[in-house]
Subunit: 314 residues, 2 copies
């Protein structure tokens, strides 16, 4: 029995990352209906918008789903209360200290997973008593760890310091990558990029089409002086790269970034002014599919490989 | 039958990277004697030094071994002739166009593998007719691709554009990582960092001890305006980081780097002035072992995992 399936009450240990401007009720319910775990991304939602997405998600699936909450969310108390009040049973927290919210969520019967990018934070997860850990490597889109540890190096490092159910993230968009993650010590995978580019993702068509056209080297981890963020090529990335090459300070980058750029890029499809956040594995994604097709394809690929693996292949 | 074993006449598809200041005849012969493929790293050797290492390696093993040649080597014609004259049957080329040398090496009966970091170069390898491809991800130590594609994302991308025998490199230091690489489409692994820190590596004791003490985030890909290079923490890395943060130009970085710094750092063990090149996976390496122990441990780990893999683990 897979511990991730058991913990969340799902049949496929595939979690759809709770991504800003992508992960609304449509994507979350579609992934949950396919046997995975859909997450609503609270990071880009006002509290009342989140409430609506939770309610619509409940109406669209009778399967378990969750909410991802970045802990630097401005109205964090309000949103956590809302999540509890709406009866959400699974919360993924990220971008903060897992100790802050785990106990309160547990008191309300919520299962808690926390997203990390280093062993140091895995130890904090142990201490906080989270139920599962998502370890996300350098290749992931959007906000990223300062250590730049790749999924290949990160998963075994995390496995060394914790016995908790472990979900690998970063660069995972296929059954082959899922099997690789399992070989490295994970028991589930969190898939962001491939779900961000499905039909059910709330991202704009322009953003999706741009991202499926990306090749190797077309995303870069930038804005390191602020908060390392993987961006896709476009006018804004070019501007950031030039500023950083010239030695721009954190303040200068903050000014350049301004406000609302991720919404502009991902949700509104402004490829010039917008901030385009996507993972490195976008280079491998060539079409827009449904979220259910993605789940089936990953599982089919995993099964094909794990059954065909030549046990004396060396 | 594993194609990498078949191609090189070895019994374990583990190649020891031909690393500057680490990969002399001692390391190469030890890996070959353990059933893997040892490579002599020509990049840090004058031609006559290389000749001596080839001869000593031949005396120390009756198993196949090879030489790694960075194609920007200044006396490239002289060194290739020397390699052919000394009867070396396996050459790994890197840092250049595989078309330049493959045909001439083939004419002399040499098996050729070429090291790449992108699909674009995999296509060049197909055209050049190399016998095998080493695809090296962002987590690798030393010189690195501009695309920053991690091993998890790179191996499936390369597998899509070539049917050639494929060796994964970058972040691989265990049987678990070898199995992950195989799941992603590789048939062999090139291990650098873990062999650089073995007893038989020519690196200085000071460098080895420093590297086994590194943690996550202690290596960084820097010098991107010159040639992206993964460095380990130390006085020189601090200096480079500061210069780059302030917007240093390629010329300024070239001046800062100067000449002979890798020798100083790796071979002479000057942790202050030296350039320390090592992979991200150094964070997982806690002791100096023999190269033979490393080969045995990787194979044992691989076997344990591949035999224990639960085929219904999802």
């Amino acid at each position: 029995m897979n511990r991730i399936n058991q913990l969340f009450g799902i049949t496929r240990p595939i979690i759809a990352g709770g991504m800003v401007w992508c992960s609304g009720w449509r994507l979350a319910s579609a992934v949950s209906n396919a046997g995975g775990l859909g997450l609503i991304g609270a990071g880009s939602m006002h509290p009342e918008t989140l409430r609506e997405h939770i309610r619509r998600c409940k109406a669209a699936t009778d399967k378990p789903f969750g909410v991802n909450v970045p802990l630097m969310y401005p109205q964090i108390d309000e949103i956590m209360q809302l999540i509890i009040d709406e009866g959400v049973k699974i919360v993924f927290t990220s971008a903060g200290n897992p100790k802050t919210w785990t106990a309160r969520l547990h008191d309300s019967g919520v299962t808690v997973a926390h997203v990390i990018a280093s062993s140091k934070f895995a130890t904090k997860c142990n201490e906080a008593g989270v139920d599962a850990i998502v370890a996300e490597g350098f290749e992931a889109g959007g906000h990223n760890g300062k250590e730049e540890t790749t999924t290949m190096c990160l998963i075994p490092a995390i496995r060394q310091v914790t016995d908790k159910p472990l979900i690998a993230a970063g660069g995972i968009a296929s059954g082959a990558a899922m099997l690789a993650a399992f070989a490295l010590g994970a028991e589930g995978v969190q898939v962001g990029t491939r779900f961000a580019l499905t039909a059910e993702s709330s991202a704009s068509e322009a953003f999706k089409m741009h991202c499926i056209g990306l090749g190797e080297g077309d995303t870069k981890l930038l804005l390191k002086k602020l908060s390392p963020t993987r961006l896709a090529k476009g006018a804004f990335m070019t501007e950031v790269e030039a500023a950083e090459a010239a030695g721009a300070t954190a303040d200068q980058l903050r000014e350049l970034l301004g406000k609302g750029r991720a919404k502009k890029g991902i949700f509104e499809g402004d490829l010039q002014e917008g901030e385009l956040e996507i993972g490195q594995v976008s280079a491998m994604i060539g079409k827009i599919e449904s979220a259910g097709e993605v789940v089936e394809d990953i599982i089919a690929g995993y099964n094909r490989l794990v059954n065909g693996l030549d046990r004396t292949n060396y």
